[in-house]
Symmetry: C2
Subunit: 332 residues, 2 copies
Amino acid sequence: MMRKMSTAPTMKDVAREAGVALGTVSKVVNGLPVGENYRIRVEAAIEKLDYQVNSYAQGLKSSRTYSIAVLLPNTFNPFFADLAHQLNLALQKRRYKMLLCCTAFNPTEEQEYINMVRQNKVDGIIGLTYNPDLVVEPDTPYVTIDRYMGPGIPCVASDNYAGGQMAAEKLADLGCKKVAFLRIGSSLTNEPNKRRSGFENGCLARQLNYEMKILDDGDPFDGFIDFLREHFHNGKLDFDGLFCVTDNLAFQIMKVLESMGLKVPEDVQIIGFDGARMFGDGRYVCSTIVQPTDAIAEMCVELVLMDNAALRPPLVCLPVSYAYGGTTMERP
Amino acid sequence: MMRKMSTAPTMKDVAREAGVALGTVSKVVNGLPVGENYRIRVEAAIEKLDYQVNSYAQGLKSSRTYSIAVLLPNTFNPFFADLAHQLNLALQKRRYKMLLCCTAFNPTEEQEYINMVRQNKVDGIIGLTYNPDLVVEPDTPYVTIDRYMGPGIPCVASDNYAGGQMAAEKLADLGCKKVAFLRIGSSLTNEPNKRRSGFENGCLARQLNYEMKILDDGDPFDGFIDFLREHFHNGKLDFDGLFCVTDNLAFQIMKVLESMGLKVPEDVQIIGFDGARMFGDGRYVCSTIVQPTDAIAEMCVELVLMDNAALRPPLVCLPVSYAYGGTTMERP
DNA sequence: TATGCTAAACGAAACGTTTCATGAAATTTC
DNA sequence: GAAATTTCATGAAACGTTTCGTTTAGCATA
C-alpha cells in the first residue's frame, strides 16, 4: 500500500486530508478567520502531511513575495557588512527574505541588478548605489541609503552634517591648531558630502584653521600623498589633526603617514567616519564618527514596507556618535 | 486613445503584439530553436512592450528558480564577508540570485532558515552552519562549507591540515623555540579542526616544542587569559610563537598580550588563520594562513548546480597560502 | 414550524508561465 | 508530381496558490 510521496503536498492534498475546501486551507495558512473546529482539522492535516506553502504560487497569485532586494557595493567594507547584517536582522524580524546584490560601485551592475530584481517581483528595494541615473520601476517601493534620488524615493542617512561638525569640535577639544579634511568619493550630490560643510562649519565656529583636499572617484590616490608632502617640512606636518571622510580612507592615510615617519596620534590625530570595526565587536579601526547602522537598517525596512507611500518622508537623518579608536589623544 | 498600461505585459501580450502563439514567445525567451523570422518579430515585441518574464510564474511551472540560499553566521567577520562576496560573484556569473541568511551561529536560526528556504523552492543551498543535526530537504541540493554532514552532501573547505602544518613550519623558520596553539570553536568534528593535527604534525616534524589550549564554544574567553598568565613569568612569556585558529582569535589575543606589556612580533610572533583584511584590499590583520575564498565560492556554486548529483565528491580541499601581516618577524 | 438573517465554508476562476499533443507547412524521396 | 517525412508554430492544460460570488448551516424571531 504505497502512498504517492513523489511530489510535495499541496493545499489540495491538505484539503482532502482535512475534509475541507481549498479556500479554507488557504485561510488557515494565512491566519484569516476560520471556525475553530475547521482550523484544528486543517492544522492537523498540515502537520501530518508536512505541508509547506509554495511561495512561487503565492507570489504569482498575490504578487506579494516577502522578499526585499538589497543593493550594496560589497560586503568587504565593515560599514557595508554591518549594514547587510542589520538589514538582514530587520527583515528577518518581519519574516522577509533578503536578496543581496553586490554591485562593486559599478553603475552598470547596479542597473542590471535592478532589472533582474524587477523580474523577480521583490516587494521592494533598498539600495546604496552610485549610478546617478538609475531607472527604477515606479511600482516597486525603493528606499536609498545616503543618496537622494528624487521625490517619492525616500533616502535614509546618518546626520552627516552633524557628524562633520562633531569631528571638527572633537579635534578642537583635543587641542588641534591646524587641521585638514580629506575626501575621496563620488562627485554626485549625496548625503555624505555634507560631512564637508559640517566640518567647515565646525572649524569656523571653533576658529580652527583648516584646509581641504577633495578628490573625485576616478582620481588617483596619489593626490593625497602629494598633498601631504606639500605640507611636510623638516620632518613635521603642517597639520596636527586630520578628518578623513571614511574610515577606509583614514586607514590608508595612516599607512602613508607611517611611511613618512609620522606617528598617529602623537604627531597627527585622525578621525574617520563610519564606525568600522574589525570583527563586529572588536575595537574601532580609528577614532571615528559612528553611523547608527542598526537604526538605518530599521528605518529602511520600515519605509520600504510602508503601506501608504504618500506618507514616506523624503529624507531621514539619524544621529551619529563619536568613538575613540586609538588615533586621537584622549584616553577612552 | 489610451493603452492599457495598468499592469505589466505578459507573454500573452507579447504574442498578440508579435502575432505569434504563446509557446513561440516562451521559446524565444528561453533561447530554444525558433524560426528566424519569428524570433525577430518576438524580440521586437518584447523590446517594444518592455516585457520582463515573471519569475514567479516560471518558478511555479518549472520549479527552477535561479536562486540559491547562502547560510552564513554573519557578514562581520571578514572571512564570512569575503565568502559572501565571492559567492555573490560566482552566482551572478551564472545568472543566479543569492538569498543571504545570517544565522548568528544559532542552530535554531539555521534550521528556521532552512525551513523558510524550503518554501521558497530555491534551487540549492550553500551553508556554513554549526547545527550538528540540521534537517535538510533531501531534494534540494545542499553543499556545506567546512562541515562534513554525511554522504550526498558535499563539503568544500580549505586544506586545513596543510594550513596548520604550514603555520608550524613558518614559526620554525622564523626561529621560534616554543610555541602554542590556541583554539576556540565548535566541538563538533569539522574541517577546521584539522588545523590542530596539521600544526601538531608540523611541530613534530620540525622538533618544535608546543602546547595546546583548546576551548569549546560555550567556554569563557578567560580560559586563554589564564593560560597565558600561567606561562608568564618575570615579564616574559614561555612562548615565542602562537598559532591562533582564526584571525579573529589572533586579534583578541593580541589585545591580551598588549595588556600584559608584551610586544608583537618582537616578544611573541603570531600566525592566524583565514586571511582577514580590513577593507577587502587593505593589509592583513595579522600574519595568517589565507583561505582561498574565491576558489571555495566557485567550487560551492559548481557543486550545488551540478546536474548529476552522483558525481559530486564528498569532500573538496583547496590550497591555502601564507601571508605576512606584521605579526611575524620577517619583512614582507 | 416557518421565516429571515448572519456568518462562514465552498469551489471555480485567474495569476503567467512551460509543456506537449496536434496539425500545417516545407522539404525530401521515388 | 504525389507520398512520405521532417520541422516547427500552435494553443490548451497544468503548476499551486488567492479571491470572490455563491451556497449552506446555524440561529433568532414570531
